[in-house]
């Protein structure tokens, strides 16, 4: 009987990586090489026009090269962080090559059309000179996203539970949800700016709608699919309706809820930028539009990278939350 337990533990996915070389991390050395190449090309070759931050970019990549050089001998002593670094070794090499190629094609040779393609040092220049405005924009976007997403998923989740649990609620609510659900949130823009007192409120509503609807639909489906025997068991054990909803229906449907949350997260990003492009005074969406109008493409790319990092970070965060809450699922999936 304990053999079965040991079996399931073996499958729990504990893998140990053996470092390829105990002493020297070869990919780290290569990465140091490609990053040094970038630094040398940036510093050694003249710029076609002034992009700014030439020396700074050379220094940054040189520091990067130095870090990889140090890591190549110390990485084996860094434990799990070291293992992660070793895993991404080839990426660091290619990243150095990519920076070098990008820098040479744009800043040094000027082969790519000029206002549209900015060299990496141009992006760095933006971060150095326009960081305060970028930070304000991130804060504004964060506020809009936070208010919209969290109010959206809260209402979506509560509505979804009600729809999945109560027949009467489902009778009236389901047709409405099926009608409204497939309409892209951005299609509501003309009405929302008329209905809501300010563009800010309208934007919050759009983000909330985009993130709330998939959560509502999947939560309702999840609650509806809960194995009836779970309810029977809980009822014979003396559970009331409250217990059945909060301790049986909701935990049982949580895997579905998270599918809805991931969908809602992606939709919220999509509608966020659109919402900010309409009449907002600050925010990453506004920053993109404003700088496109002035052909400041380095700023556009700089903002895009920030946006990509924030979105990817939020998705990662949701994965962490899911793994915490759905740890009991391991082995089922």
């Amino acid at each position: 009987m304990s053999a079965a337990v040991e079996d399931t533990f073996e499958g729990a996915g504990r893998r140990t990586f053996a470092l390829p070389f105990a002493g020297i991390w070869r990919n780290g050395l290569f990465a140091a090489g490609t990053w040094f190449l970038t630094a040398a090309l940036t510093y050694g070759l003249p710029d076609v026009i002034s992009w700014g931050a030439t020396e700074l970019f050379a220094v940054v990549t040189l520091v990067g090269a130095g870090i990889f050089l140090v890591l190549s001998v110390t990485v084996s002593r860094l434990g799990s962080v070291g293992r992660t670094l070793v895993h991404y070794g080839p990426w660091f090499i290619v990243l150095g090559l990519w920076l070098a190629t990008w820098e040479v094609l744009t800043a040094k040779l000027g082969w790519l059309p000029k206002p549209f393609f900015s060299p990496p040092q141009g992006l760095l220049h933006v971060y150095v000179t326009d960081w305060d405005r970028l930070l304000v924009c991130i804060a504004y976007t964060g506020r809009l996203w936070g208010l919209g997403f969290f109010s959206g998923i809260l209402v979506g989740f509560a509505g979804g539970v009600a729809l999945g649990w109560s027949k009467r609620f489902a009778y009236w609510g389901m047709p409405l949800l099926k009608l409204i659900g497939p309409v892209p949130a951005s299609a509501w823009i003309p009405c929302t700016f008329f209905i809501f007192p300010s563009t800010f409120h309208a934007s919050i509503f759009l983000v909330a709608l985009a993130s709330g609807i998939p959560v509502a639909i999947l939560t309702a489906a999840g609650v509806g699919q809960v194995n009836r025997s779970f309810y029977d068991v809980a009822r014979t054990l003396g559970a009331d309706n409250r217990f059945l909803i909060f301790k049986v229906a909701i935990p049982a449907s949580l895997p579905n809820v998270f599918v809805g949350l991931f969908m809602g997260l992606y939709y919220s990003f999509a509608v966020l930028v659109v919402a900010e492009m309409l009449g907002a005074k600050f925010g990453l969406g506004w920053y993109l539009q404003f700088n496109t109008a002035y052909s400041a493409y380095a700023n556009v790319y700089a903002a895009l990278i920030v946006m990509a990092l924030i979105c990817a970070g939020l998705v990662r965060l949701l994965f962490v939350v899911r793994d915490r809450l759905l740890g009991w699922q391991k082995g089922i999936l």
């Binding site: 009987m1 399931t8 025997s229 009822r235 014979t236 054990l237 559970a239 949580l254």
Partner: protein, 262 residues
């Protein structure tokens, strides 16, 4: 609270009376009668097995006794009082362990106490039943980490922690391998002897019924009605090859429409 528990322990078991119960389901416009005028009386502390072909409506009888459904006609009584709804005094154990997969073994067992707000007062009971079903070392395991037999023992513990006076067992060992099943049958017998609840076991395994029960009731094919009752007057532990039991087994199989060559 401990006092109250001691009192209920003293009471221990209840009598179950089924009076002229007929039951029908309506599904998809089709009317399906599953029970036809079933009457039986079970004394407090008795172990009764319901034997019958699969799908004959045995499980329905358990659901009625558990209070999960109301009989279309007739009455089901506990100690003379009609059963109106589910109550932790009467607990159903299913063929599948149906442990809540998001709860650890301990939390699963705690469900009944938690639902009735008795968790803080009776938490020590959890450790007691864990020991009773020999799962002491597994209280923090999730159901997917348990083998079939362990899961079923956890399900039994989840029922027993509530001190049920009537345990309704719906083919509880039906999905276990034959060795585990033999062991679990003995464990169930020990639990019954030590705790003294009334037991109503649904099974289609003639041997299981004869090994465990004081009385075996044979039900017909759907709609189920009682076609035979056999009292098993043998002391525990019983042996499978006991001549009397073998004769009973042959008689019961015949009642179920299976010829003697089996």
């Amino acid at each position: 609270m401990a006092l109250a528990l001691a009192e209920t322990n003293a009471a221990g078991s209840i009598a179950l009376d089924v009076e002229g119960v007929s039951h029908r389901y309506e599904s998809g416009g089709r009317d399906l009668q599953v029970l036809d005028d079933v009457s039986l009386t079970i004394a407090p502390g008795e172990f009764v097995a319901l034997l019958g072909p699969s799908g004959c409506g045995k499980s329905t009888l358990l659901r009625l006794a558990a209070g999960l459904e109301k009989a279309t006609r007739g009455r089901v009584l506990e100690d003379g009082k009609p059963i109106t709804g589910p109550n932790p005094d009467r607990i159903l154990v299913f063929q599948d362990a149906t442990l809540f997969p998001w709860r650890t073994v301990r939390a699963n067992i705690a469900t009944g106490l938690e639902a009735r707000g008795l968790l803080t007062a009776l938490e020590h009971r959890i450790d007691e039943v864990l020991k009773l079903v020999k799962l002491e070392g597994f209280s923090d395991f999730y159901p997917h980490q348990l083998s079939g037999g362990m899961a079923q023992r956890a399900a039994l513990a989840r029922a027993l922690v509530n001190d049920p006076k009537l345990l309704l067992l719906d083919e509880p060992f039906g999905k276990l391998d034959s060795l585990t099943r033999l062991r679990m049958q003995n464990e169930l017998l020990d639990l019954w002897k030590s705790t003294g609840f009334t037991a109503l076991l649904v099974t289609h395994d003639v041997e299981e019924a004869l090994l465990l029960a004081d009385r075996v009731i044979v039900l017909s094919d759907r709609p189920a009605s009682i076609i035979a009752q056999v009292r098993v007057d043998r002391h525990h532990p019983r042996r499978r090859d006991d001549a009397g039991l073998v004769a009973l087994r042959r008689a019961l199989l015949e009642k179920l429409g299976i010829s003697h060559d089996v």
